[in-house]
Amino acid sequence: MSYLELKNVSKFYSGVVAVQDFNLEIDKGSLVSFLGPSGCGKTTTLRMIAGFGRLDEGTILLDGEDITDVPPNRRDIGMVFQAYALFPNMTVQGNIGFGLLMKKTPKKEIKKKVDHVLELVRLQDTAKRFPHQLSGGQQQRIALARALAVQPRVLLLDEPLSALDAEVRVVLRGEIRRIQSELAITTVYVTHDQEEALSISDKVVVMNKGVIEQVGIPEEIYRAPKTHFVATFIGTANQFLGKVSGTNTVMCNHFHLLVDDLKGFNEGQRAVVLVRPETIQVQPDPPERKGWNIIPGEVETITFHGAVTRLGVNIYGQRVAADITVAHTKSISLNQKIWLLFSPDACQVMAVDEE
């Protein structure tokens, strides 16, 4: 059953669309990410859920109650900001207890609850410190604890990790997910980092230019993107432009590609074929594999990425990315002539966005 519901939500800034016709249902206890490039409307949407910025159209329902016109201080929602936004004049204890104080909670109970959430974020010994005495990662944990202390109905996180180091980011996103599932708190997480979104979400909402491009579980978003934008925004995808021919071929300029499924396409229609680098195999000798796509090319760049090595391969003037595992790297060198090999089911065909 949906717990938080956004219906036909739109927001314009002096006539320019920020968010348009946004419809979403979020289940109780789930973590949903809004993912998209900057300016896609994800933060605007989150802020409307929090009550910052009025809606120009639509309604927001929380647990069946229409909260569209409820001011932020009466929504019972917790929020973590990108810039931590801890109160500099208060200790950690004061910060976390603030929301409870506003609710006129008895002092004893405040102390108990503060201790509890501090334990949850594993920073029990910082209660008496001031925010500036903590590291960025610690400050953000305290901000999370502060948002959780009031036991909000929904937790909103606005790019909470983007100000932190890469290492802290990975640890903290795991922590956020752990705490979120432990408390089973309905959470909306805004990020522009796809890895972050894919790794911690129950559901990902990909947004672009104020509209939802796709909603789905992380696997779906990655494996079966529904739009050209999603396919190119999530992960890396090689793109081959061509025209549909027959039931399983797309004709490109210098070669043709065998694909799995061309349902819904017309003969001769312009289409783009997307192939992820990790689905491409690289062979130094001409391979023989019937029914697969085989394209010759020349290695232009070799970039070491740790677990994989990415090759930039020139095929008929187009640069194509292919990932190979370290075990294969030795046999490949710059300017070497090689063959790319990928199966038809690695190819995703999309209609070309007419722009």
Binding site: G51, R75, F81, P88, H132, A147
Partner: protein, 281 residues
């Protein structure tokens, strides 16, 4: 002969002022302190026109200053004017600047320009214009009109520090953080914003106090003898007896300093916390 390879010891890494720097600083201090020191000396000098140093010392002028019939009244009037101006400034400016920083961000450049205007308008013009416009009782030539004029005149001194402090703490995000935790506007202001901008409010208060306490032109032109303030008395005595005027100046300095210390001491608790905030940035 020079030593080409002078061994570098650790103490040499300390930055020491060069002869030029010492000279510049000394000149600056001399320039700043000479009038103050002279005033102090003149207030206790018996005769000082034939020698480099006064010929003798006396407290007579202080006794005569304190005995002046207008002494306490003008002092009281000056304090009333200063404190009233500070109170009005705080009530008008702090919420306005906060509002502009959080709700009407687009208006900030306009407000910035508006706050330079008092510097651009000559006080004489301001005073005469106000006297002409507000020429009806009970406002005409009243202390109320004076307070209003002085508030406008000293506004930039309150505005700047408060505005800078709000800028430094990212008032908008802190406001939103407070709101989402259930605080209303008054709670956000009293528990979050004001404690964090206290250093700005304090320095604004100090600047306004020292400006208003020494204000002459507006007072003289708007109310004149009707509400005599300390600077008016002081100027009056420069024509009667320079030594007594010097004694008045010393009293004025002392009050200004005492008041400054009082404000700083009163706000030191909050300031410590806020100083830590600023350190953190």
């Amino acid at each position: 002969m020079k030593h080409p390879q002078k061994p570098v010891r650790e103490t040499d890494t300390k930055i020491r002022p060069t002869g030029w720097q010492i000279l510049c600083i000394a000149l600056f201090l001399f320039y700043m302190l000479l009038p103050i020191v002279s005033t102090y000396a003149f207030s206790v000098a018996t005769r000082w026109d034939r020698t480099i140093l006064p010929e003798g010392y006396t407290l007579e002028f202080y006794i005569r200053a304190f005995q002046t019939s207008y002494f306490t009244i003008t002092l009281r009037n000056s304090l009333i004017l200063s404190v009233a101006t500070i109170v009005v400034s705080l009530i008008v400016i702090v919420p306005t600047v906060y509002w502009v920083h959080t709700r009407l961000i687009g208006l900030k450049p306009w407000l910035d320009v508006l706050m330079i205007l008092p510097f651009g308008i000559p006080t004489v013009v301001l005073a005469l214009a106000l006297v002409q416009v507000y020429n009806f009782p009970p406002i005409a030539r009243s202390p109320i009109l004076l307070i209003g004029a002085v508030v406008v005149y000293s506004m930039p001194f309150m505005y700047r520090p408060v505005s800078n402090a709000l800028q430094a703490i990212d008032a908008l995000t802190l406001t939103e953080a407070g709101q989402i935790l259930g605080a209303n506007v008054f709670q956000v202001l009293s528990k979050i914003i004001i404690p964090n901008i206290l250093p700005g409010i304090l320095s604004g208060t100090l600047l306004v106090f020292s400006t208003v306490f020494a204000e002459y032109t507006l007072t003289s032109l708007i109310v004149g003898a009707g509400f005599k303030t300390f600077p008016l008395l002081l100027v009056e005595y420069t024509r009667i007896n320079g030594n007594i005027a010097a004694a008045f100046s010393v009293v004025s300095f002392t009050i200004a300093w005492l008041f400054s210390i009082l404000i700083l001491w009163g706000g030191s608790k909050g300031q410590n916390a806020s100083a830590e905030t600023i350190q953190a940035r």
